[in-house]
Symmetry: C2
Subunit: 302 residues, 2 copies
């Protein structure tokens, strides 16, 4: 059976590298001005990456599309979590965060990754989530509908589970608000009786392939919308919350910083600027207030 063919790490790595290329090309094409700059880096313990940074574009103010494939001795923290004494690991993935100029264009994040260890354990993880500075309900429905379609093509159980996972994961506890409107998040998708490793890979490929058409849709649709100083200030406040989430809660960021990862590549997710106002209050009845009220878990957008 086709689905029982073994998907190798080489195949996955090659596909992810190509995904980075395709996404960068689509983003440059849609932005029309900005071009990615590439930094190649090597990891002292093994492997390396291709960090690609974009900025000062017509639509994209700052962002990155990173690819990495690293390997070596498994860090203590992971061994401990997996209750293992010793093992080698291989990890590869593509990570994206884009901060647009216009507050009417949402911030987006995607990550797709593969991890395997010398003891035979392997899994996929990833997700896409959207952080609008202003929640437009039609855009939110569109976003979640597209994600649901991709999930449903693979398994009817994926979307309910991974949508909830995103709601729970992208949560800023100390603010009692979600980072944005969520999306999907999944981790440790291994082969099971119900899913082969190839099935899991096909799903991750569908998620990765969705990114460029999905985000360029919002770029094209919203980048020409007018905005004023108050809306720009609100964008800065929301970017501040994005910083808070990434530095306080994001597991990938924490793990990367804890294990002496390449700081510039890990922190490419941070916005070009952010602001903090003590006890910022939204005006009753404003679009900012409406957005704040929609930053909560469990909204069924579809």
């Amino acid at each position: 059976m086709l689905s029982e063919q073994t998907t190798t790490k080489e195949e996955i790595t090659g596909w992810l590298r190509g995904l980075q290329d395709r996404i960068c090309a689509a983003l440059e094409d849609t932005d029309g001005k900005a071009r990615f700059k590439e930094d190649l880096w090597e990891r002292p313990g093994g492997g390396g990456g291709r960090t690609r940074i974009i900025g000062q574009g017509n639509i994209l103010e700052k962002g990155g599309v990173g690819f990495s494939a690293v390997y070596g001795e498994t860090p203590e923290k992971i061994l401990h979590a997996l209750k293992l004494d010793q093992a080698h690991f291989y990890a590869t993935g593509v990570s994206i965060v884009l901060h647009p100029v216009n507050p009417m264009v949402p911030i987006i994040h995607m990550n797709v990754r593969y991890f395997e260890m010398s003891n035979g354990v392997s899994w996929f993880g990833g997700g896409i989530d959207l952080t609008p500075h202003y929640v437009d309900e039609e855009d939110a429905r569109y976003f979640h509908t597209r994600l649901k379609e991709v999930c449903d093509r693979h398994n009817a159980g994926y979307h309910p589970e991974f949508k909830k996972w995103a709601d729970d994961y992208f949560y800023i506890s100390h603010r009692k608000e979600t980072r944005g409107i969520g999306g999907i998040f999944f981790d440790r998708l291994s082969a099971t009786e119900a899913f082969t490793k190839t099935d899991r890979f096909r799903f991750v490929q569908s998620v990765g392939d969705l990114f460029a058409p999905l985000y360029t849709y919002f770029m094209r649709k919203n980048a020409q919308l007018p905005y004023n100083d108050r809306q720009k200030e609100w964008q800065m406040v929301r970017r501040g919350r994005y910083v808070e989430f990434n530095l306080v809660y994001d597991k990938g960021t924490k793990f990367g910083l804890d294990t002496d990862g390449r700081a510039e590549s890990i922190l490419m997710s941070l916005p070009p600027q952010a602001q903090w106002h003590y006890n910022y209050q939204v005006t009753p009845g404003s679009q900012e207030e409406k957005t704040q009220q929609l930053l909560k878990k469990g909204i069924n957008w579809v």
Copy 2:
């Protein structure tokens, strides 16, 4: 003997409340424009605080001087760390972070605090550290000299220990740089054979009393210095590092957020704005490069 009198939590609390008043008055007086706004808050589990925020001043762009006195059942995290099953706690302190307008004026942080538990354990903690956007070596010497004088008045062993503690504590591992030029940091100063509780309190009082004359000296001395756009941008980058330290490493911030503390009071330490540039590089031979080279542990400034 005088030093064996018991210092009560009421006495400590009253003194700290007065310290907040005196520091706020001195800062307003030196700024000449900005006035503190006060937020009184109550902690659901017991106690509360007086958060005072200043901003848009002649010299101070954003900052806070907070006082709190909270009590109740000891959070699980502390009980676990102290290997205790159950206890009540009382904690009071003054915390300050000030972000100036002019990049030639340093950011400053001070915290003095007292903690006791129903099982009889009690201690003081605190410190002052300076984060210049541009390290002026004369200012740095002045700062450390004043701290050393205060320490030496109480015990010759304090300054070497607490200076090193600050170097180690205010360290941004993932950047391999210190937050600023350090200062002093101390924690869990309990009564011992060598120091009574009153001795410890007198030391903490000296540290607290040093704050206003020390920082208003820098305000007066540097607030009129000229600066250009590049220097303002560098200030934004340094503020970004300040955010990284506070959200990733600062134990007080983490503990406060973890235990559902008042987010606005905890995060009053964040700057009004910050910037992140991918892989920011300083110009060789510049003042920015000189500063970066001085952001390391173990410099003997005195």
